[in-house]
């Protein structure tokens, strides 16, 4: 079945100059291998289209069940010279939550659904 990343993982972005790091944390350890396999640096960059102009590096933190994406050229030239309203890119980490993953049916019970208020 298909699932959005927000059902599988939570994310946070941080800034350094013109580079944004976006860390992706699996909610459940059993879902982490799906992230490692499907959310590659290449796909991460392609998902953001021209919003990331430079190289994307991916680091794995097994102990945190996390992938850390370091996206160069993601902050419009840098926090201080960016013309973006969100010049620190603090809202950037929400974009990837819409990434689509293939999830084996047996893991479906582990997926999160956004509860209504």
């Amino acid at each position: 079945m298909k699932a959005r990343l927000e059902q599988v993982a939570h994310t946070r972005s941080g800034d350094k100059g013109n580079t944004s790091n976006i860390a992706v944390f699996a909610y459940e350890p059993a879902l982490y291998p799906l992230l490692k396999e499907q959310l590659t640096a290449e796909r991460f960059k392609a998902f953001h289209r021209e919003a990331i102009t430079g190289e994307v590096l991916r680091y794995e933190a097994e102990n945190l069940h996390a992938l850390n994406f370091v996206a160069h050229g993601a902050l419009g030239g840098g926090v201080s010279r960016s013309l973006s309203l969100d010049n620190y890119g603090k809202a950037l980490s929400a974009a990837i939550l819409g990434f689509t993953l293939d999830v084996p049916d047996e893991l479906a019970p582990l997926l999160r659904e956004r509860r209504s208020a």
Binding site: E6, H10, R12, G14, D15, K16, G17, N18, T19, N21, A23, F25, F47, H48, R49, E50, A51, I52, L57, Y59, A61, E62, N63, L64, A66, N68, V70, G76, G77, G78, V79, S80, R81, L83, S84, L85, D86, K90, A91, L92, A94, A95, G98, R112, R114, R115, S116, A117
Partner: protein, 453 residues
């Protein structure tokens, strides 16, 4: 401090604009040994230099110094809580003198306040730091635009100030985690070259330096990641042992949450390689950390460690890079996006008529694509309301002013149903570009001045 003692360190601020009330709460009810304030962003020093040049009355330290200190000094001095703060910006001695004045106003005498300076190396940076890290160019290319350069110092000068008896230490540029590491080094007597303990302490400092970002701030996502009473967030408290293990907690009865998730998110915040997080004091390794929830809003972190520090210190160089002009106007109702698109076309043509000389122009539709830009899904639904947000980066302020002037023209010479904010706020600002380099650590000498209330 004995081997079994737990050191209690609280956060008082995570950035210049942070809230003051949680700092007061930590001072009053945190049962703290130390309260630490982080108030500087990358461009803080350069912005302060620019302001000081224009406004001789600007003292050059945190503009909220009085608010923050008035909120915490009575409780901290009554309880024996020491304070470490980077609110000194470009004038740590001035900040220390001001704190002494505030203490006297409160009738608190005999308190020792230390100022740690030495991070400003503007006059020497071009010879000490040959290469710009971001683009590989010589730093000499910044000669004509350089405002300020400062090295990120580590924890050692703060430790020295504490050792010399300071109850309050106020610094210029110091790496954020070092503000929290310094009390651990001083109280536990850690060797500055013991990279395992210094790595653990710096890792703890990293978890603390962003304040509420580890206690439920910058976290809530309703329906997926809910946070109780997010209006009532507390700043974190670290209970540290002599081995560098920590339990994170907060004042009871406050909102927010400390969970494995909030701690993980903060652990990788602004980190690139999680096994090599470079600070002036050590290279932190987060990849062996274990995160263990102990109970409600209590999370234990063990296994933080590090590798030997690098021979260099990072330097930030702030440069004048022209101006940004910006403004926005609004549409709503059926056809809002079509009207916004026509307005964008009109502005693009009018910028040609007035010969706007810009390095970059950006016209976004706030409500559709102003935040995620090109990463916005092509099939994103059309919004009911949309703001047209216009920005341009120019060499001169005269050019930047043209953005707002053409947005003014949209009021009566634009499209139907155009909403606009009048009177408008300031629509131009100066750009301070920040570049980085490295200097040999031996070239940066801290100096410490002591004052007494």
């Amino acid at each position: 401090m004995s081997e079994n003692k737990l050191l209690r360190i609280g956060s008082g601020a995570a950035w210049w604009g942070d809230r003051v009330e949680p700092a007061a709460l930590n001072a009053e009810r945190g049962d703290l040994d130390y309260l630490c304030f982080e108030t500087m962003a990358e461009a803080t020093v350069s912005a302060a230099q620019v302001r000081a040049r224009r406004d001789p009355s600007f003292p050059g330290y945190d503009t909220y110094l009085d608010d923050r200190m008035r909120a915490v000094l009575p409780a901290c001095m009554r309880r024996g809580t020491r304070i470490v703060s980077n609110q000194g910006w470009i004038n740590p001695q001035g900040a220390a003198r001001r704190i002494v004045e505030l203490l006297r106003e409160l009738g608190i005498r005999g308190v020792k306040v230390a100022a740690v300076g030495g991070s400003l190396i503007t006059d020497r940076v071009l010879e000490l730091a040959p290469t710009i890290l971001e683009n590989g160019q010589p730093t000499a290319t910044l000669k004509d635009t350089l405002i300020s350069a400062e090295a990120y110092m580590g924890a050692e000068p703060i430790v020295q100030a504490l050792r010399e008896g300071a109850q309050i230490v106020v610094t210029g540029r110091v790496a954020d985690p070092s503000l929290f590491l310094a009390p651990m080094m001083y109280e536990f007597g850690w060797d500055p070259l013991d990279h395992e303990r210094i790595g653990a302490g710096s890792g703890i400092g990293h978890l603390m330096e962003c304040g509420a970002q580890v206690t439920g701030g910058y976290f809530a996502d309703p329906g997926l990641k809910d946070v109780p009473e997010p209006w009532n967030l507390a700043f974190p408290i670290a209970e540290v042992d002599a081995q560098g293990n920590v339990t994170l907690s907060k004042v009871a009865g406050t909102g927010g949450a400390i969970t494995a998730q909030t701690v993980k998110e903060q652990m990788l915040y602004e980190v690139h390689d999680p096994a090599h997080y470079i600070t002036p004091d050590v290279v932190v390794d987060f990849t062996r950390a274990r995160i263990e929830p102990l109970g409600p809003d209590r999370v234990r972190v063990t296994g933080l460690t590090g590798k030997p520090r690098t021979p260099t210190l990072k330097v930030s160089m702030g440069c004048t890079e022209g101006f940004i002009g910006e403004d926005m106007f609004f549409y709503a109702g059926p056809g809002a996006l079509r009207r916004a698109q026509l307005a964008k076309k009109i502005l693009e043509e009018r910028f040609k008529i007035v010969k706007l000389d810009a390095e970059e122009v950006r016209i976004d539709f706030l409500g559709l694509n102003a935040i995620h830009g090109a990463a916005t899904p092509p099939d994103a639904p059309e919004p009911y309301e949309v703001a047209v947000r216009v920005a341009a980066r120019t060499r001169t302020r005269e050019e930047a002013v043209k953005v707002g002037r053409e947005v003014d023209g949209m009021a009566v010479s634009g499209v139907g149903h155009t909403g606009k904010r009048v009177p408008h706020q300031e629509r131009t600002r100066e750009v301070i570009g920040v570049w980085s380099s490295l200097v040999p650590r031996g070239q940066v000498a801290a100096h410490i001045d002591h004052f007494t209330s």
